[in-house]
Each structure stands twice: as structure tokens, then as C-alpha cells.
């Protein structure tokens, strides 16, 4: 498994694809997401159909896999989703833009900052609103912390499923420090609703920088703990290497993005290839592995955690030099005027009243914005008719595409490997069912 950490340098081979994991394509011919039981097996009725149902410890959330087993090997699989369909898009059409910002966090409830960011970026793109630099850097910092948080939840739960139970407690120890940082900044551990159309909702509190520094120094040590626990653990290597193979072409054909794509050898990361926020001013490397199996997805996510820690460190350096800068844009048509200004100026009072009662208006048009969330490309397609409410909001869910690869990855594997594969695809059901 050759590992290449491709640098952010100008010289770049597009897109670097290592030696193929298997020849041809393993996508099931009839329906790409359903693996049919081969004909000769269906007559011999020792095919056992098992429900990896909605309430199953190893499917992260309410995913249901109908698995046909010949003894221990998986010969047929089809995923049933929709058990957590919450009708986000219908609800957001009823809410004004301002109120709608709190919905996207609940979609992908593990990488919630990135989801909120994608909706806010879509609003700002339509409004052609420029955001102060301090807000951009703070958003980037929180999204990277959220990426580490999401990879820690992935590592804790999928290692727990494969028997490495102590990993759960190790990972959740670091996760608690990240949630403390979120709570320090925005007052709540999850779903912080800290991003506003035009910047961030509040200024950065006093004690945030030293706390974040402590975390950034602590994280590499913790990452080293996880590596010593897992990387030379024979059981872990045996259970993950060579399991759930996905070649680069199949990954691109199935619309995979994020760690699953980078583990199959395609060098593609939105933060570097179509930079948003201030990612072009930050130096980080994109881990790419060519094994295309569960082990390489684990290694991509581990390296990403290390890279994200470096990004957080650079954001902290930049932010500490930006004391006293505005943290939200001063365009009164969209952003609430500060409280004290209301007592003195009439216009601010009118703006305040208009924004609070009716909500600010976004010019008519349609926009698609994509962001590199921990699971892959999380996009937001927004159509506005110029009124205070969005006409149509659609979220492109990376987990939705990731689950389409279950049929391709789990061909001929044992049922125990199926748990490792579903864990490695890291699909969050809220994201899949929206």
C-alpha cells in the first residue's frame, strides 16, 4: 500500500490514481446499489436472509441492510434507508432565511458546523455579501475542529465494533475537549448555530485562544496514542486490510467523495482544489492512499486529523493578530444592527424591525455551493424567488452517496467484514435521509 502525501505544490498530477485495486468494475450490473444473489445459489435454499435492521448496534443509526447469507459469506445485499427521513427541505421552505440557518446542523449531526457553513455560504453567495476576515478564519477554525470531532466519533465507534473497545473511551476523551471549545465559543456543545449570514453571531470570547492552544498541543500526543493502540494491532490489521475494496473508477462512478475517494487513490479535496473561506492561505497536505480498503480509509482519516490540527494552529496564529476587527459584516440590510445603535439611529431601528419581522430578502436566482465536510462533498442547492423565504433548498449528502457503495464493497465478504465496511463508509443516517 504505497502512501503518498501529495503536497499543495503547484506541480500536481491530476488526479493521481494508483495501480487499480481490481480489474474492471465491481458495480452490480442490474442495479448499482443492490447485489443480487447469483442464480445457481437461489435454488439451493440454504440462503439465509438477515435483517441488519433499523435498530442494530453496528449500523451507525437507523440504516437497514437486507443481507442474503450463504453460510458466512455475503452473497446479496440491499440497503433500505428512510427510517430517519425528517423532511428538512420541506420545513426550510416554510422558514425565513434567518430561521432556516439552524436546520442544516441537524442534517449531518456529527459534522454539523460544515453543514451550517454550506447553507450560510449559499446565502452569502446569492447576496454577494463579503464577510470580514476574522469571521472567515473563525469559521475555518470551527469547521476543522468539527472535522477532528467527526473523525474521532468515526474512529471510536468503528473500532468499538471491531472489538477494540478501549478506543471508544480514548477517542471520546479528546472529543469532550473539542466540545468544551464549542461550548466556550457558542454556549452549546453541539448544533451551536454560531454562523450568521454575514459572519459569526458573537465575538470570540476571551479565554478561547489559550484553551484552543492547549487542545492543539494535546492532539498530536492523543493521535500517537491511537496509532500505538491500533496500527500494529494484528487483529485490527487482519480485520481491515483487503476488506471492502473500492477502485478509483468505481468510486468516481458511484459519486464517492471525501475520505472514501481519497482512500481509493483519487487525489481530490475541495479545500485545496476549489478553495473556499481562506483555505488557499493555509498550508496543509491531503492524504491519498491507493489501497481502497477499510484500512486505507482509516489511515486517510487519521492523517486528516493531524492535518486539521495544523490548520487549527495556523488559524489561531492568524486570529490572535486580529484582535478588535469586526466579526460580522456591517451591511444593515442583512445583519442586525448592534443593540446600542438602536437607541440613537432611526434607520437602524427600521432595519432591525424589518429583519426581525420579515427577514432579509435574497435576490432571485439559484446557487450550488459545495464544502469539504468530514464525510465528503456536502453541497447546498438553493433557489430563491427574491422573497424572505427560500423557494427550494436541497442538501447534497455525502453519506447518501457513500451508502450506494455498500453493494460494491461487500461482494464476497464475510458477515463480520460487512460491519467493518459499513463503519468505514462512515455514513450518518440523518445526512442520508434528510
Amino acid at each position: 500500500m504505497s502512501a503518498t502525501l501529495s503536497h499543495v505544490g503547484r506541480a500536481r498530477r491530476w488526479p493521481f490514481v494508483g495501480e487499480p485495486v481490481y480489474e474492471g468494475s465491481r458495480i452490480p450490473p442490474r442495479v448499482p446499489t443492490v447485489l443480487d444473489v447469483p442464480a445457481e445459489l437461489t435454488e439451493s435454499d440454504d440462503i439465509l436472509q438477515v435483517n441488519f435492521g433499523p435498530n442494530h448496534p453496528s449500523t451507525h443509526g437507523v440504516l437497514r441492510l437486507i443481507v442474503d447469507l450463504d453460510g458466512e459469506t455475503v452473497v446479496g445485499i440491499s440497503a433500505v434507508v428512510g427510517y430517519l427521513h425528517t423532511g428538512f427541505e420541506k420545513n426550510m421552505e416554510q422558514k425565513t432565511w434567518w430561521k432556516g440557518i439552524t436546520y442544516p446542523e441537524r442534517i449531518d449531526y456529527v459534522g454539523y458546523q460544515n453543514n451550517e457553513l454550506v447553507f450560510v455560504l449559499a446565502i452569502e453567495k446569492m447576496l454577494a455579501l463579503e464577510v470580514p476576515e476574522k469571521a472567515t478564519w473563525m469559521r475555518m477554525l470551527l469547521c476543522e475542529l468539527n472535522r477532528i470531532h467527526s473523525h474521532l466519533v468515526y474512529l471510536g465507534t468503528s473500532a468499538l465494533e471491531l472489538g477494540a473497545i478501549s478506543m471508544f473511551w480514548y477517542c471520546f476523551r479528546e472529543r469532550e475537549t473539542i466540545l468544551d471549545l464549542f461550548e466556550l465559543v457558542a454556549g452549546q456543545r453541539m448544533h451551536t448555530r454560531y454562523f450568521q449570514a454575514g459572519g459569526i453571531a458573537e465575538d470570540i470570547p476571551m479565554g478561547f485562544y489559550p484553551e484552543a492552544r492547549k487542545f492543539v498541543d494535546r492532539m498530536p500526543v492523543a493521535l500517537n496514542d491511537y496509532l500505538t493502540l491500533l496500527d500494529r494491532n494484528k487483529i485490527w490489521l487482519e480485520r481491515t486490510q483487503g476488506v471492502g475494496l473500492l477502485s478509483a473508477d468505481d468510486a468516481i462512478a458511484l459519486g464517492q467523495t471525501g475520505p472514501v475517494l481519497r482512500a481509493s487513490g483519487v487525489d481530490w479535496d475541495l479545500r485545496r482544489d476549489s478553495p473556499y473561506l481562506a483555505y488557499e492561505q493555509v498550508d496543509f497536505r491531503v492524504p491519498v492512499y491507493t489501497g481502497g480498503d477499510v484500512y486505507d480509509r482509516y489511515r486517510v482519516r487519521m492523517d486528516e486529523m493531524a492535518e486539521s490540527t495544523q490548520i487549527v494552529r495556523q488559524c489561531l496564529d492568524k486570529l490572535e493578530r486580529m484582535e478588535g476587527e469586526p466579526w460580522i459584516s456591517d451591511d444593515r440590510k442583512v445583519v442586525l444592527p448592534p443593540r446600542e445603535e438602536l437607541h440613537t439611529s432611526m434607520e437602524s431601528l427600521i432595519h432591525h424591525f424589518k429583519i426581525v419581522t420579515e427577514g432579509y430578502r435574497v435576490p432571485a436566482g439559484e446557487v450550488y455551493v459545495a464544502v469539504e465536510s468530514p464525510r465528503g462533498e456536502s453541497g447546498c442547492y438553493v433557489v430563491s424567488d427574491g422573497g424572505p423565504r427560500p423557494w427550494r433548498v436541497h442538501f447534497r449528502a455525502p453519506s447518501f452517496a457513500a451508502l450506494q457503495a455498500t453493494a460494491t464493497c461487500s461482494q464476497g465478504t464475510l458477515i463480520a467484514d460487512l460491519i467493518a465496511i459499513v463503519g468505514s463508509l462512515d455514513a450518518v443516517m440523518g445526512d442520508t435521509d434528510r
Binding site: W14, P32, A253, G255, W268, R361, E366, E377, R396, A401
Partner: protein
């Protein structure tokens, strides 16, 4: 960037907020997608989205005079004059968001317009990723995709009637009681 006129079934193209949208005739969707994938190099289908424009410009919308480049600050908001947004060709729009894995991440939106009940060719043969995307749009918006091997409800229950994301489908849920009297 080569212009998109050669796409089979090409109707019109527009460039807004830095995104190119090519409107394609409903009957040529599959050829257009194959052309986009093979000649233009859009290797990845990111998303299939259906939008319902039922009574889109029925009631006026007082708001900013939205210009192509976004809001025009010195043009005051319409004081009460109901500016109705521009009419749409027909009720439903199905947009295919494509992404090319190349330098600069070029993106393209292939858009087709159709009325209620008109089917669209499925693009599963072009990108296998379209399987669930199309099933979801069929389930929530009621767009039929011909040639889809397994077009069934994906998110809602199998025996659910109606397509929830349509504009004429009620939001459901319950009226909120703010006081215990009634």
C-alpha cells in the same frame, strides 16, 4: 473553456453567480449527459435535484431588484411595488450537478424543464451514482425516470401516497397549541 453549444439537445445557457447552467431539452437528457461525461470530462455526477415551480410568479414578491451580479446597493428596495420574479418555462426543473476532477474543479448544471407526469430518461447507464438520486426525486417530487431498473420509493414508506416536496402537498404536522384552553 469550450462553450456548451455542442451539447445535444442544447436550448440555452446562462452564467450566474459564477455557475454555468445549460438548459437541455427533455428528450435528449441521456445524450447530453453522455456527451458531458465523455467529451467535456465531467466524470462525477454530484447531485440530481428536482424543483417544483408551481405558482412561482403568482403572488408578487417585494424585495431587492436582484441583478445578475447580486444585490444592487444603491437601488432601494421596492417600497411595496410587487416585483414578480421572471416566469419559468414549465412547472418542474430537474438539475444534474456535474463535477470534473480537473484543475480548478469546473462544475456544470444540466437543467431540463418538464410538466407534471412527463418522464425523463434515467442516466444510470452514464453514472451509476444516479440510482438513489433519481429514486429520491421520484419519491419526494414525483418525477418519473424511464429506464431506471428499480424506481421505487426510497425515503418514504412504500404505501405512502403523494409526493411530499411538491408545492401543493401540505406541510403536515399538527397545529401548535400555545395555551391549554382550546
Amino acid at each position: 473553456m469550450n462553450d456548451f453549444a455542442q451539447i445535444p439537445g442544447y436550448v440555452s445557457a446562462k452564467d450566474e453567480h459564477g455557475e454555468t447552467t445549460v438548459v437541455v431539452d427533455r428528450a435528449h437528457v441521456r445524450e447530453a449527459c453522455t456527451y458531458a461525461r465523455d467529451e467535456l470530462g465531467f466524470a462525477m455526477l454530484i447531485d440530481v435535484v428536482a424543483t417544483d415551480y408551481l405558482d412561482w410568479s403568482a403572488k408578487g414578491v417585494s424585495g431587492y431588484i436582484g441583478t445578475a451580479t447580486g444585490r444592487d446597493l444603491n437601488m432601494p428596495m421596492t417600497q411595496g411595488l410587487q416585483a414578480s420574479p421572471d416566469a419559468k418555462p414549465s412547472r418542474f426543473s430537474v438539475s444534474y450537478h456535474l463535477l470534473a476532477l480537473r484543475q480548478g474543479a469546473p462544475r456544470l448544471r444540466l437543467q431540463t424543464w418538464l410538466e407534471d407526469g412527463q418522464p425523463v430518461d434515467s442516466v444510470i447507464s452514464v453514472w451509476p451514482a444516479a440510482d438513489w438520486f433519481e429514486r429520491e426525486q421520484y419519491d419526494l417530487m414525483g418525477i418519473r425516470f424511464d429506464g431506471h431498473p428499480n424506481l421505487a420509493r426510497l425515503l418514504m414508506e412504500e404505501d405512502w401516497e403523494g409526493h411530499p416536496l411538491r408545492k401543493d402537498y401540505p406541510i403536515g404536522g399538527e397545529p401548535v397549541r400555545f395555551s391549554p384552553e382550546e
